[in-house]
């Protein structure tokens, strides 16, 4: 199984690198950052190295959570870990797939095969589909695990999560619906963010993202509750890595999704600040994936030693 995933990763990496050198660069982007086409292509390479590191970390995590879930599939915790592993696969595969589809759509726009609006709408919703399905599996897995040890969220935890979610959702909805470029491009933006009317943005972008974040919040809380309730000092030592990894990845993905919404405002920060922010988030997500993989490896070792 591991080999198959790493081969798939190699193919996706090659596809992405080829797409960078084959695709023409938008002249407005070059003008905005005062750099040449070649400079931008090499700059893109410096960004994709940490992006590839995340993909590798994500695939490492996919392989190890999958191996562990397979080992314990016929046990009372098997179904819960199986769902967690499925969530990791979907979110992990979503990273390279959405990036490559995004590049292909950009190419199609350059060739006038599709409109910019079509490209943006497909990219936006493809990302949402991967996240919503992946986070649903994570949530379902965390719920089953918590249920297996009869662990329940306290009223305080539920209220805290709902309060935090309401706050972030209100800010997100406000930021999204006050983006002047949401329907049509307004300078300095060269393309619109969504190419959709407000009611469609609300129904197909804002609400799904709020659902994704709710699933993410409750997944981390349920995993923490499972950790508190389950026994076994050595088991818990491996589990804490896995849980912390999920916490870091889910939180960093939520921040990344949130920031993506205010891209137009971020453009005003300049290239170096944007790069720094992207590098930082990529590094955090990669660390989270490695922690998930190490946690799963530690748990798998408990099933192997004889």
């Amino acid at each position: 199984m591991a080999k198959r995933y790493y081969w798939l990763l190699a193919v996706l990496v090659i596809l992405y690198i080829v797409s960078i050198f084959v695709l023409k660069t938008d002249s407005a982007t070059l003008a905005r950052y005062h750099i040449s086409d070649v400079q931008l292509k090499f700059l893109s390479l410096t960004i994709i190295i940490p992006a590839f590191a995340i993909w590798l970390a994500a695939f490492y995590s996919i392989v190890n959570t999958g191996k562990y879930a397979q080992k314990i599939k016929n046990t009372p915790h098997g179904e819960g870990f199986g769902h967690l592993a499925n969530g990791v696969v979907i979110i992990g595969l979503g990273l390279p797939i959405t990036s490559i589809v995004g590049r292909l759509l950009t190419y199609a726009v350059q060739q006038n095969a599709v409109s910019q609006a079509f490209s943006t709408i497909v990219s936006t919703h493809l990302t949402i589909v991967f996240y919503i399905v992946g986070f649903f599996f994570l949530y379902r897995g965390a719920r089953l695990l918590a249920g297996s040890v009869r662990a329940k969220l306290s009223q305080r935890q539920v209220s805290g999560a709902i309060g935090a979610l309401a706050l972030i959702s209100a800010f997100y909805a406000f930021a999204t619906l006050s983006d002047p470029s949401r329907m049509a491009a307004h300078a300095p933006a060269t393309t619109a963010t969504y190419y959709m009317p407000d009611w469609l943005i609300l129904l197909t972008v804002i609400i799904p993202y709020i659902v994704i974040w709710a699933l993410g919040f409750f997944t981390t809380l349920l995993l923490a509750t499972y950790y508190q309730k389950v026994g076994g000092a050595i088991y818990r030592a491996a589990l804490v890595k896995l849980n912390f990894g999920f916490f870091v990845v889910i939180l960093a993905l939520i921040i990344l999704q949130f920031i993506t919404t205010v891209t137009t405002n971020l453009s005003g920060w300049g290239l170096s600040a944007l790069l720094l922010l992207v590098y930082l988030l990529l590094a955090v997500i990669a660390i989270g994936y490695v922690l998930i993989a190490l946690g799963a490896k530690g748990l798998a070792k408990l099933e192997e030693v004889i």
Partner: protein, 86 residues
């Protein structure tokens, strides 16, 4: 009156191991009995404990660097062995 069934030796050992390996404990002990004693877990008897103790002590030591934890685990198994032998 509540009649509580006497726990089997296997169950007692799993209960102790649970404190270290959590949900992995029953599989860990069953694997050890099948591999090192070549018998089914429910057929475990008190005289098997020394072999099980040697193996499980080594196996637990592979999973943690905490020597005190390994010692604590083997002491608890020894207590069961002594109690079952008397």
């Amino acid at each position: 009156m509540v009649i509580k069934a006497k726990a089997s030796l296997y169950d007692e050992i799993v209960d102790i191991t649970y404190d270290y390996l959590g949900p992995a404990a029953p599989r860990f002990i069953a694997r050890g009995i099948e591999t090192h004693l070549s018998k089914k877990p429910e057929k475990l008897i008190a005289s098997d404990i020394p072999v099980l103790l040697d193996w499980s002590k080594l196996a637990i030591a592979l999973l943690t660097d905490d020597k005190q934890m390994v010692e604590d685990f083997s002491q608890r198994l020894l207590v069961i062995a002594e109690r079952r032998n008397t």
